[in-house]
Symmetry: D2
Subunit: 369 residues, 4 copies
């Protein structure tokens, strides 16, 4: 599978540089008969849009999506869905000074070394603007998941030194998009805002953690052995710009625990006659397959590499230089990252949900009957 | 791509249940002209073999690999390489009592729910015995990587509460396989051994962390945007049994740092005229592409789920029961996990190394000339 | 997808050289819950086995299949199915004289040029012995197709100058395997036998045509635009050794007809309330998707390239030489090719049948409910 | 691999309905450093454009391609290339009467049955307008193949009863695009023109055959066993609308020949020290791998299914009706099909050419050095 394609059954193939004509993609394997609300997709995109609050980059783009195929009268046709978002506010001249230099901890040098050429304007293909395709595809996935009552959430649980340790509950989840930090706890959200503002005033940047939760995942989603549900989730998250780590369920912390402390004992829910577990260290997944409990995970983001300080860069010729970085950048991308994580989770779950219709001959006969 | 296949260019398709006739796989995309030493491959397999020390399960299997195709007179033919390892010491009767029950934190329930049937003997496909295919493929990858002088290492850096914080250096790396714990620091290794023995005496189990390092990775390996080098590494590691988390470079810890603290400033090595970085928070990867510095990462393993204590299990009919677990299990799999992590790393790097020969029209012309 | 893998959902990855240890493969994506009869699979393999009649090569191999995984107590587990057939009657010394020469119209030269090395014994990977994996996978596909009452047939409709123009009917189809030529018309079969015997007496060889038919294909199988049902069928057939052409429905002959002569007019079958067509120039497929009529096609095989005559070959050094070919070869492979074509057809239809369960959100919900 | 993606290394993912907003695609795996001439690509598209001569449909579209990514200052970046061609002259109202009826030998019924919904305007996804993406990708492939001096040609060798039996030579090949029929023999071209005009005057339609030739293919291109060069070529051709058959080299005719008549004897070209063959029944391919001789093949097209006569159609409700077909259609698509066949051939060869850089460890080391 190519490097620009994500998914086994439900596949996005994405394209686009930050300062090219457009960002876009093709969704293949999306079933026919799904209601597709353009408004909903646009709302999702608006959640990652720059310029949406005073915390984010001042690059103002409308980021209007145009669907080019695969949908007629608001219903999916089963054919591939092409979509684009035009790049309209490209101030390429801001980047002229980066043409033949490499910024530290950016992809300038590696793209140049790999391809012998790179689009230096605004990060080119390595720009976070590429994530527009991810949020668009995630919106399509969510439209599909509605049929199965599966819901994905992602929120900011840490920014720099400020973290929120409270566990999610339904009430708080609804609050994710009620503040500009995307932390569902309003008190922590305020502290996070202050930390971002302080960093920005210093010309510095911050990283953080996005936590994710998928509720009502049916039992049996995920494929052993190389397409385990959490392996695909992890790869999807690690493919997002600036991500340095992924853990699910008990995560890294579980490495120092004893087996007797972290077994998820089964209990029989006599109301719905389903098996549940008393605890959920497994993160809703056993052997790569969902067990019906909530899937939860954490994604670590490094701080933005473009500071608003004099920056030590390297020229192509091998000379050190100090420059003042131009361009428009967030001091902290976490507020805009939550919707990206949420979108990736939706895509992976939707892909695996479709795939699991092929598990048994009985399921397949039911589908065909 | 199917659920049993790993890799883009270099692909392993694996098969096998713990108590079926054999574990094996097919390697496709392995180039012609590589020297294949059966002895080396067998030595690699011996590093994960059960019964190799008093710390591991007493299941005694020779685990002899048989290569069925793709190699003639010790040279690879460019055709697919089929291989098998017979399962010879199957005490299936040990598992009869698990036929219709679900153990906590195992994959019994999820396989059953997904497929309506499962091979309950020794974990079936979910058994860690499946990793034989991974170590075999990793050995092939290492034979290929020799041509490029790329070397992969993985060692145990934490077991339960005991961890080794010293950074790797070449001397210590050579010591990884000099003790049965696979921790290159002999003093820490002893402490780890004691912690494992204590847990085993209690009928309890431990998790831990395996650290990995890839040296001499050429610049330009890895593919944006969904096949980033670290995304593929992460997925490979997360697909190993019992893994709960993956981080690379600065990892989770980097989330709470400021940008100004973790920029990897370029320096010009005038001796070899290459660009290097003064620090390596990036973990040798920028934008998903290797930058020539060492790639390093950490993999978190949960404790083994099978305790040697009375275990609360659930019957298929929904009744709780307490059983004494049979079967033969490690109290801690970390000593045997190091070679698995190392093998996965070798495979991913080899796959991406081959792929990067297709980066530019100039490279392709050079290959064809 | 690798070069050794066939199928989108249902995937065979095959391996094996003619004179290596074994021929085999891994089937991935085979659903759980299918009854797997080892006897049936062996009977299918026996239909392609050399030495089964006086018309075929005298190489005597038992070609016993061993299933290594994925099946327990005669039921598929949903996990990958590994299988092998050992090569037991390898007279490699017969081929020693071919080590450094290239035979005309064989793959000796091309393998050598591509890989710089080749297994010269019995054709290596290019041997028709590779088709063992195809017949084995086809047998699995047929076991799956039974659930959907879909049936595949292939028979010899031409050998050299002798052809059978009668259209298939159910009675004759049952006769395919009742004579050793695999032509369901017993009178033509006799003429074909005579033509083969005459060619063999001359040390010469013959080609021919295998016709195929798939009955009871449900409407809606096949995927636009690059995975059209007939495109996948065609690729599968063209991948068989010695095949030079593929046509379906009206085929090449339709190129010289007028549109008004070959329209398949719809008729409404009021008995079962289904749409049918009065004629079937479309070969049961429109726009790459099955329309419920029979799928039929023809596959052209060239004559065997190894004559039992003095053969003009070329040495690696560029010198012409005349040799007497050794080895054991059929004068005409068509009798053994019918089962291979049938197997490929079964695989492609099974793959597409599974895939079509993902067409609409309604089908997917039905499968999951 | 999805149904809308073509290629192993070089992959096109296409999208678009005839009367949607646009037809387009994403090219992934295109190496960096290739000169991309927008003018050349547009010229290629103009060769398939409707309305280019009085022989083709009067649908007038400019079919201007817009490249959205992956190219900067006329050089490929190594990143995915997104492109679109807007649909500007959609007279959707012409198709209103087809909303709930099925035309004979069209894909109306099969799309409807498969997806439960279809874009009935102008054939939707099943329209030949989809081939715009194919010609665009073919143009990119040709730009890449220039570096290797590989050239693809396709021409009309038969229309209805008129055929051209002369073998190609360089002079004639240059004449392909010098008449509107795309037959490089000007006398035959005139006869073909008359046959098309006669059919059109009758409101009838014609099929025909496109022949293809690929010159200067390096030795060693193509992959055994399921990705044989001719199998991939065949699948590509069979995926084009209206194609009913594919043959290469000696083709179907070879089925009735004796082995002794069709062996391609090797000769040693002492001028360039290469091996050649005295004849080329093999069509330049042995064992699925190119042998350095010309690759040639033939593709059979059925007559266009939309006649300009009263047409017997079927309503969704199962009632027969006679309608007068509207819309704008060619009486014979062959003149516009040549460039499509040529484009598909270029893509397949380019894909395999890239792939063959991975054949041996020596090639890979050369590329990386």
């Amino acid at each position: 599978m190519g490097a620009n394609t994500l998914g086994h059954i439900l596949q996005l193939t994405s394209f686009g540089e930050s300062h090219g004509a457009a960002i876009g993609g093709v969704i293949s394997g999306f079933p026919a008969g799904v209601s597709v609300s353009l408004d909903f997709i646009q709302q999702e995109l608006d959640k990652r849009r720059p310029g949406q609050s005073d915390l984010t980059t001042s690059r103002q783009e409308n980021d209007r999506i145009e669907i080019l195929s695969g949908v007629m009268d608001g219903i999916s046709l089963g054919t591939p869905i092409g979509f684009i978002v035009r790049n309209t506010n490209q101030r390429s001249e801001d980047y002229e000074h980066l043409k033949s230099v490499f910024r530290p901890s950016h992809a300038d040098y590696t793209y140049d070394a790999k391809y012998g050429i790179r689009d230096y304007r605004g990060g080119g293909r390595a720009s976070a603007r590429e994530t527009i395709s991810r949020v668009a595809m995630g919106a399509f996935a969510k439209l599909l998941l509605r049929s199965f009552d599966v819901h994905c959430y992602a929120w900011v649980s840490q920014i720099g030194q400020t973290s929120m340790n409270r566990l999610p509950n339904e009430f708080e989840l609804h609050q994710i998009y009620e503040n500009e930090v995307r932390c569902p706890d309003s008190i922590t959200a305020k502290a996070m805002r202050h930390e971002i503002e302080a960093a920005r005033n210093d010309g510095d940047t911050l990283g953080g953690i996005v936590s994710g939760l998928i509720n009502s995942v049916p039992v049996g989603i995920g494929q052993p052995v190389f397409a385990k549900l959490h392996a695909d989730l992890g790869a999807a998250m690690l493919s997002i710009n600036a991500v340095k780590g992924f853990e699910y369920g008990g995560g890294f912390e579980m490495s120092s625990r004893k087996g007797s402390e972290v077994l998820d004992k089964f209990i029989h829910n006599t109301k719905n006659n389903l098996l549940e577990t008393a605890t959920n260290y497994s993160g809703g997944i056993q052997g790569g397959i969902s067990n019906g409990q909530s899937v939860y995970f954490r994604v670590a983001f490094k701080p933005v590499a473009t500071l608003q300080q004099p920056l030590d860069i390297m020229t192509k010729e091998g000379n050190e230089k100090t420059i003042l970085p131009g361009g428009r950048h967030d001091a902290c991308v976490l507020p805009r990252a939550a919707i990206i994580v949420e979108s990736m989770a939706a895509w992976i779950i939707a892909d695996h949900l479709l795939w699991s219709g092929l598990d048994t001959i009985d399921k397949i006969r039911k589908a065909q009957s």
